[in-house]
Amino acid sequence: MKVLIRLIPLVLFMLLGVLLYRGLFLNPQELPSALVGKPFPAFSLSKLENESMLTTEQDLKPGIKLVNVWATWCPSCKYEHPFLVKLSSDKRFSLYGINYKDERPLALNWLKQYRNPYQYSIFDQQGKLGLNLGVYGAPETFVVDHNNIIRKRFAGVLEPTVWQREFLPLINEIEDEMANGN
């Protein structure tokens, strides 16, 4: 009995050790999004490609949408761009851009130079839509389902491994839901 009591501090210490060791491998940048499960916020902004054309959340196509926040001032966006171009040929979802706190001529030039993977880009110069989406940098990518509910928020560079691991299963899941009429 006495021996057992003496072992208690050691056991506690080891438990603490395990806890802290696991903590070393957590990514503090990975924040749970407050918006997952909520509808895509309302907005009324011009299209990047056409200054005089207002677009709202009603204009997004039915079905699964991928909304990518990008800007020409963001180096990681450039890195991510070729993969977005590749994704744009996938017919299971529509890819939209939010051009976040950027200059229109620069952004248009960028799309001309690196190809335009988006249906269109929403021109969010003030970052108001970004704010409502809880965006704190670029690139960020949101998955929006057929009911316009945000299903996933991903901050960082989209690349094949992340796509395989985090996005594809979710897209399959939403497709199942659509097939079942939810």
Binding site: P28, Q29, A34, K101, G127, N132, G134, Y136, G137
Partner: protein
Amino acid sequence: MTTLFKTLRNIAATLTLTLLCLFTVQASPVDTYTFPDEVTKIRFQDLTYELRCPKCQNQNLADSNSPIAADLRAEVYDMLLDGKSDMEIMNFMVDRYGDFVLYRPKVNSTTYILWFGPVVFILIGAGVIFLFTRKKAEQPAELSEEQKQQLKSILKD
């Protein structure tokens, strides 16, 4: 002579320190917000102090230079001028950026350990100390006659 030298040295040191303090730079970013009254100004300072910058993680809105922090400061300012309450502003931020933006976490089931953990540990510690000291108190045995004699002879020396 040496005392005079010491005094002079102390004065020199004090002067240097004072000068150093005079030249410290305030590193907080400068926004040129004008407030209609003192209360709004203080509320703004309090809110930006309590809200955390989502990008820089370990700075509050008031301290951070990052663009998103500047945006959020502007948003807080606008909402204050719109007559929103502190609670509404906090909720606005939490709705978008999650509980993470609060430097003072809410009390709910996920944060009970955080809030009450320390109290629990203090109680456990107090319990352990109580148990150990009580055991000790039972122990002191009477010295035998022989030991008392011995003690006396030692103390005499």
